[in-house]
Amino acid sequence: MSASTLILLVLGLGLAGWLAARSRAAMFRRANDGRRIASLPVYHGWYAALWIVIPTLLFALLWSAISDQLVMQQVLASPAAAELPSFGIQRQTWLAEARAVATGAASGVFNPEAEGLVEPFREALTRYNIIGLVVTLLIALAGGAWAFLRLKPDFRAHTRVERTVLATLLIASLVAILTTLGIVASLVFETIRFFGMVNPIDFLFGIHWSPNPMTDGSNPDPERYGAVPLFWGTFFIGVVIAMIVAIPLGMMSAIYLNQYAAPRVRTWLKPALEILAGVPTVVYGYFAALTIAPAIRDIALKLGVENPSSESALAAGLVMGVMIIPFVSSMADDSIAAVPQAMKDGSLAMGATQNETIKRVLVPAALPGIVAGIMLAISRAIGETMIVVMAASATARLSANPLEAMTTVTYQIVANLTGEASMDSASTLAAFALGFVLFLVTLVLNIIALRIVKRFREAYE
């Protein structure tokens, strides 16, 4: 019994309820000699359908969330599970394989050790599926019956339905807050656990980073978790190098598009920038690693630099800068376009040339918007992951030489979460702590930038 069949079943029941309630309401109407009833029959239909669908879907959601755990518990309680290794990738592989066979997704196990787990899985799955199905049907029936009994000629189904719709809208908008809370909660929780092992001072101000994924949580070496080289690498690649590329090029592109380009030219160049913005970061990363990094290394060698790194900060930073250009450009374009034409006319009417007008009037007037755009661009650059994962290095180094290998916060988050370490090890938790720092920094940047943008827009409206 898959989730999709369950959902289809619930929707089917809802449809049945809708039809039944609507025809019943239509009957009231006929019985009333065609006099008006309080609500149209179709609202009675919706009322019944909602009473069937909403409780059952809520249950189905809850059930799918907990049944997986229940199944796993039952399987782990079975004698066959005793042979499982206590943690690590092997345990997970075996469990996943046995589960796949039991659900019919795979025809046989690859690791013979998983064979014994298939049967317990099958039993547990059947058992909880049946329980789930029965309860779902019961809830649907109960909901339908409740709604059906309340249908009367003078029943205001209309108001009820509308109230439900409004509640649904409210809940949908709360998802954003829930997501934010979810992010904060998961990051804070794991970060606190990490700070139980490593002093926050050591983490934030230490200059030596070499986490050891093999140690478990009981014995971390705080000396290995000094994140300053990561912060520096992130800053150097994402703020210094990338912005040196992106700010001038993005600004000048925006100015050209907005002030100089003929409409026909604009219709071709603007989409080109949009395409550049739409290229996935993994493609940029590949481009950086495959083309730019070797080229930079070759050039550095020709210039007589000894041992240039093939994972230089420069390669990642340059490509990141190119990625950010369309972002800066579109923010700057919007801000400049928001400056009232009167301002520009005023300057031109004084006999200012176009570039004098741009440099002395338009850009200063658009400055808040441009600054906010750059802050958002920085927020995006320091959170960018794929380019640095593919083109930067794992080596944590405090250096101002762009030809040296450097690592970043996002690189280390990926590296420490995709390795072999267990969920409890200090290196895994360190990744969450890094994520928390990243989240806080980008949050501050975003909120300040959004404030500025809002105020800027209001000023010119």
Binding site: L169, I177, V282, T385
Partner: protein, 419 residues
């Protein structure tokens, strides 16, 4: 200013004219810099696309050897009633198809050449026979994939030992790069000659279905609430700030959320499209909300007033009048958000959608990978063949993204209304 200046204005002197020349030079320089900046971006884009296309063409091809197989001399039988490909392949394996191919290859290519036929080549022959049992009669010519070594040698790379052999075979017309349609139909493999992207593509499609079916309704409903019903208070402000901030939070943070929350609730669905889709949905939802609010804002209040004036309830006004008018704008925003989700890799990396998936996922809870992830995984491989396959996969991904963006631009132009 003295009297002379009163008669001849300060803007009509020779010094002014000289300055004017300089100012115009500055103007031309400035304009050229602007044009240069944007042309640089365009040049990078073209360079990127050309690099990918040049590498990618190789990725859509496969180095193959021409091997005639005479099934009259070495007959194999295919049960007519066995329609299942798997069974047919197994039966052919038992009948010694592998040896037959090896024998035919030795005859056609010689000892050395036969050694370079891909070890899985017989399986491809078996699959072809399963699809068309008529092939197993008489003499048939098959183009079989080579080993990765020979393919590399044929391209002029790799070990020098095989290069003379490759040149010889090619001169005899036995070795060629053929268009590899199967690249779009196979799944991941350890041998680039056998790798394909259908598995990843299907994973992407399944993931996108989950993302869309969560993010779209939630996003649209939230946008409707915020724009049409929300009272102006602290809570609404908080929701707004949350949404605007979520739209700008690094994607990797959503990966951490997915890892900590979704995988904690559903531990056995690691690397399933369901979890990946849910994670990406949280990322896409704010984009849809923001686009949706702008589209709803653009619907003139007169339409609402008109509907309210004939006695429609607030819910009817919104669902009968505002939403249909705002829909093109909402859809445009949705497509753009989905395109971003389709190209997203980082959060999926954290929730484990980086598994080696050799067969396409059959459902939302199967192990799967997605297209950008496949690109990332292949980019780590050092074989020349994978470099080309990576670029080919990038081309496929870019084609999908271009189609989506093109559709969004079309919708925007087609339905954009000026009120």
């Amino acid at each position: 200013m003295n009297d002379a200046a009163e008669n001849v204005g300060p803007t009509r002197t020779a010094a002014f004219e000289a300055r004017l020349k300089k100012r115009y030079a500055a103007e031309r320089r400035f304009k050229a810099i602007g044009l240069g900046a944007i042309l640089f971006s365009v040049a990078v884009l073209i360079f990127l696309l050309v690099t990918m296309a040049m590498n990618g063409i190789g990725g859509f091809q496969r180095t193959e050897l021409r091997v005639p197989v005479d099934f009259a001399a070495t007959p194999v039988t295919v049960m007519p009633d066995t329609s299942d490909e798997r069974t047919v392949v197994q039966s052919l394996e038992r009948q010694g198809l592998r040896d037959i191919i090896e024998f035919s290859a030795t005859q056609a290519l010689g000892e050395e050449g036969a050694a370079q036929v891909n070890s899985e080549a017989w399986r491809l022959v078996a699959q072809q026979i399963a699809a068309d049992p008529g092939l197993a009669r008489g003499e048939q010519v098959f183009w079989l994939p080579t080993s990765e070594d020979l393919a590399t040698a044929y391209a002029g790379d790799g070990s020098t030992d095989l290069q003379p052999l490759a040149q010889q075979l090619a001169a005899d017309g036995l070795l060629a790069d053929n268009f590899d349609f199967g690249f779009l139909k196979r799944s991941d493999a350890t041998d680039p000659q056998l790798a394909g992207i259908w598995g990843a593509l299907k994973g992407s499609i399944l993931t996108m279905i989950v993302t869309l079916s969560l993010a779209f309704p939630i996003g649209v409903l939230a946008a409707l609430y915020l724009e049409e019903y929300a009272p102006k208070n602290r809570w609404t402000d908080l929701i707004e700030v949350s949404i605007n901030n979520l739209a700008a939070v690094p994607s990797i943070i959503f990966g951490l959320l997915g890892l900590a929350v979704f995988l904690w609730i559903f531990p056995s669905y690691r690397s399933a499209p369901l979890i990946g889709g849910m994670t990406l949905a949280l990322m896409t939802m704010p984009v849809i909300v923001i686009a949706g609010r702008n589209a709803i804002k653009a619907v003139p209040p007169s339409i609402r007033d008109g509907a309210l004036a004939v006695g429609a309830s607030p819910v009817q006004v919104v669902f009968h009048h505002v939403l249909p008018l705002a829909l093109p704008g909402i859809l445009t925003g949705t497509i753009i958000g989905m395109a971003r989700a389709l190209g997203e890799t980082a959060p999926l990396l954290l929730i484990g959608m980086r598994a080696f998936v050799a067969s396409p996922p059959q459902g939302f809870t199967d192990n799967a990978t997605v297209l950008p992830m496949q690109i990332f995984l292949w980019s780590d491989e050092i074989d020349r063949g994978f470099v080309e396959r990576t670029s080919a996969a990038i081309i496929v991904l870019l084609v999908f993204l271009l189609l989506m963006n093109g559709l969004a631009i079309y919708l925007r132009n087609r339905f954009e209304k000026k009120w």
